[in-house]
Symmetry: C2
Subunit: 260 residues, 2 copies
């Protein structure tokens, strides 16, 4: 199995031959969060993303009814090319499935949102290690006391991911991630979890906790769970997302998302 080519990997997933998580697959290519909504909610959701670009950086919005990510992954099929999907009805998770052909209609719009895997790779290449990767865990994520700018039916708190960074590497980590605005960009907060309303750094709301060592500070980035949470809270009659960690693999090279 060629795990390095995004196109070939999507074909493998399409044939149902890979249903697992995607970190480490097709290294160097951007992976995306997926949110699929009815056209009737697409304007409000697009506006929500526009008003909250740090948690909701958009890589692509498909034409209504099209299941091809024509701009970021030509010849892809968004109904089959994600290893695992979550189906929501009225905001409640009702099913996890491996393809969504049975759910597809011409009234659906797909949103592909940037994912932190891209900037993590750039940080690792700069010698800044990622604790959750070293400890084999999901990155810890927290609801904050920062309210997103609402748009129509969409509102909710900003969710952040946390990575412990050595004090002497914090400046470099800010510089590097600032260059990637389309995958969450610079951190939104450094140290002092209480300043974000986070009482217990060991008890993340999503993902798993990681060790913060002596000489490190927790650094917080806006997180792509934010729009999913806002979409679920809207109790949209219908929504499909990827399953956590089971992302859509694009043909976009991570490096091309750097603006400087």
């Amino acid at each position: 199995m060629d795990r390095q080519s995004p196109r070939k990997m999507r074909e493998v997933i399409r044939r149902g031959e890979y249903k697992g998580p995607t970190p480490g697959i097709a290294g160097g290519y951007a992976q995306a969060n997926l949110v699929i909504l009815p056209r009737s909610l697409a304007y409000d959701f697009l506006l929500f993303c526009q008003r909250n670009p740090k948690p909701c950086p958009i890589l692509e919005v498909t034409d209504t009814g099209s299941f091809e990510a024509a701009r970021t992954a030509p010849h892809s099929d968004l109904r089959t090319d994600v290893p695992k999907y979550r189906v929501y009805q009225k905001g409640e998770l009702t099913e996890e499935v491996f393809d969504i052909k049975n759910y597809w209609t011409d009234e659906l719009v797909s949103f592909l949102l940037g994912c932190s895997f891209t900037f993590e790779q750039a940080l690792i290449e700069a010698g800044i290690s990622m604790r959750h990767i070293d400890e084999g865990r999901n990155v810890p994520m927290y609801k904050t006391n920062i309210q997103c700018e609402s748009a129509g039916v969409f509102s909710g708190p900003m969710v952040v991911s946390m990575r412990p960074i050595k004090k002497e590497q914090v400046v470099r980590a800010i510089q590097i991630t600032s260059r990637y605005p389309s995958v969450h960009g610079a951190p939104i907060h450094i140290d002092d979890p209480k300043g974000l309303g986070i009482e217990k750094i060991d008890c993340p709301d999503f993902g798993e906790s990681v060790t913060v060592k002596e000489g490190e500070v927790p650094v917080f980035w806006a997180c792509g769970v934010t729009p999913q949470l806002a979409a679920a809270a809207s109790r949209s009659p219908f929504m499909i997302t990827h399953s956590p960690g089971h992302m859509f693999i694009t043909d976009v090279k991570d490096n091309t998302l750097s603006i400087l």
Copy 2:
């Protein structure tokens, strides 16, 4: 007349006491292009901007029916706070007016788009002079052979503005404007106008021509006329824009739009 405070200047304009162009007014604060469309076209237009972020960088989209730019200029009134407006019916310019109260309905959405005045100020402060300002002209603008990504009824060529830059300052100009993605960002093309399909650099499609001196190269940035042209070409039943050079003055400091 206090020309330095954006809020006070908007009040002066609202009272009809200033109807002129806005360059040089409220220095240090971002000025914005304005496009007002019916809600029925707002999704396609927002998507067009999302797909073409360099010519169409969005600073704010109002809630439907709201005439306050609540995020970038609290207490403003978009019906009165622009010195001069253009009204289009079915894509044809039908009127230039000083306020749009008579045209306002609860079905309108206002888009504020970043303007190159912001990055020009940053360039000037770095010792890179702006020829069109020195020669007292409008910046020259050209239709190019680059087609924008279309979205619904909106499509059209990318329009660029051109500034002659000394060869030894081109790198610095790229660095500086790269930091301002929300006001068109880095240039899209350097030198070789024919590469953009521009046959005569002395005959711009909009604005006025400027001198390109020995030792200088023409540098091209994506231009905010692009979305206006696309909106007019869509023959939208109804559209209002600012008049060229008569911008909406926000409370956003230019410097805060720099991402690095």
